[in-house]
Amino acid sequence: MTVTCPDLSVEIAGLHLQNPVMSASGTFGYGVEYEPYLDLSQLGAIVTKAVTLEPREGNPQPRVRETPAGMLNAIGLQNPGAEVFIDDKLPALQRFGVPVIVNISGRSVEEFARLAEMLSIDGVDALEVNISCPNVQEEGMTFGVDCDMTGRLTEAVCAATDLPVIVKLSPNVTDITVIARAAEQAGADALSLINTLLGMSIDVERRLPHLGNVTGGLSGPAVRPVAVRMIYEVARAVDLPLIGMGGVMNAGDALELILAGATGVAVGTANFVEPAAMHQVIDGIAAYCRRHDVARIADLVGAVAADQA
């Protein structure tokens, strides 16, 4: 039998996605910035830039720097705060008819819980809990590199909302499966991974760091093998759906993450390079399914034959 119209839909934490492809937080603004370049209604979901309780100014410039097949960024969670997000940004996201996943970040367990409560409103379909931002002091990654903190934070957010809770993991840890299990045991409905890898680059002529923040998060194709490996490990360690991200530029890259164990795939840095990258990934996945007679993309999740390597 030849598959002509593969089923690309997936279920993640109770959300029905028409396809597995979504934006990676922080690379897609609040969606509308990319409206001139692609039809957002075709996406699997839209994941917003991180929202914090109070407005954040962000880090001093320069904030981005290209590296081989990648980039460093240290934006510093610049955002207008939860109230402005709810009033000004969220309504515009409803027009596209796809699930809206709001990424939240905070300085304390209480702040995360308060945000989760505030955002448990119509128009928000799930929360992605950013326990892994490498570019801000005293928050973000501080939670994501510690099992107990990850557990306490996840528990508090789950208690504060009825929305599906997706915990976004940091790759800057010794064993990501330990953190993944802590989030699972605390009640997470899904996990997303990986956030950026902490990195740094130096202008040797001037003997200065390239970034105003000195260090930043590395993303892009350069990090993809790390993402594939971590998704593969976490998929075997937990019983939760995973959203994979890390240097996906095209359908082949997305399929790599899916075969490693990701149910959903987020596209990040590629949006900067090719504003229609997510469309190309979706079309490419469909073409792959037709070529390989795959009736349902969900059948490929974690289907890498590692035992036959």
Binding site: G29, P62, R63, V64, E66, A69, P275
Partner: protein, 265 residues
């Protein structure tokens, strides 16, 4: 959609390390306003990965041609410098706000530093086409004579032109600001428009503020997306927080920028 394919028609090394590219791109040529930029992808590989922003030096709707000035500073611009005629670029643009033209008939001063001359050539060109042409004085500064790139194109579009070089190899010796301050005193213009390195823009902004002359600067910053989403190109705003060079600029009223917080570049 602000997106097009541009074919490289001509590449000229105007001075060492500076290339004037003439692109065939009717969509951008038609839509471009002085001060806007294009975000150009170099090849379809992953290294270099990000697009590179370039100010538009001239856009000619009649011929469909767009010119940009490229200085080779790194890997991406180094690759562009090797491209032959016929190469196709995928580009986003025209992007950004551009300069708002004055009402007409005013006295204006344009201040360019190095490669920052590019958008001012386009702006000066537009001023000459106005029904009530402003009187345009321009000051162009660079390290040395060679770095006064495309100065003839700039000078030809202005009523008065002063070159300034740090080493004195052409024009006055010193910095553009050494010429600007007395120039504002001699004959106070209604507006100043500037593009160049951040240090120069900060000094021009200060001089204009002290002289009470409105000043509009076009800024440059490393960019990610170019469309306002990633917040990578943010610069400090005097109102607090940051503004995006790509989407809120690249042209700003100089009083909108917090020059004290502008670090380094």
């Amino acid at each position: 959609m602000p997106r097009a394919t541009a074919i490289l028609r001509h590449r000229e090394e105007v001075v060492s390390g500076h290339y004037l590219l003439t692109l065939d791109c009717p969509e951008v040529a038609k839509a471009a306003q002085p001060g806007q930029f294009v975000h150009l992808r170099i090849g379809d590989g992953t290294d270099p990965l990000l697009r590179r922003p370039f100010s538009i030096l001239l856009a000619q709707p009649e011929t469909g041609e767009v010119q940009i000035l490229v200085r080779t500073v790194g890997r991406g611009t180094g690759i562009i410098a090797t491209h032959d005629e016929g190469v196709a670029y995928d580009l986003l643009g025209p992007l950004g706000n551009g300069w708002e033209a004055p009402a007409g008939g005013e006295d204006v001063v344009l201040v360019a530093g190095g490669i920052g001359v590019a958008p001012l050539i386009f702006f000066a060109d537009g001023l000459r086409l106005m029904e009530r042409q402003p009187y345009v004085r321009s000051i162009f500064g660079a390290a040395n004579q060679e770095a006064l790139v495309c100065w003839t194109e700039f000078a030809a579009r202005c009523d008065e032109f002063t070159a300034v070089t740090e080493d004195g190899s052409a024009g006055e010796t010193g910095l553009v600001t050494d010429v600007l301050a007395p120039e504002l005193e001699r004959d106070r213009p209604q507006h100043v428009y500037a593009c160049g390195p951040d240090g120069m823009l900060a000094a021009v902004a200060r001089i204009c503020r002290d002289a009470g002359v409105p000043c509009y600067v076009s800024m440059e910053q490393w960019m990610g997306c170019g469309v306002g989403a990633c917040l990578g190109c943010a610069v400090p705003a005097s109102a607090g927080g940051y503004v995006r060079v790509c989407a809120d600029g690249p042209v700003f009223d100089a009083t909108e920028i917090d020059w004290e917080r502008m670090k380094r570049r």
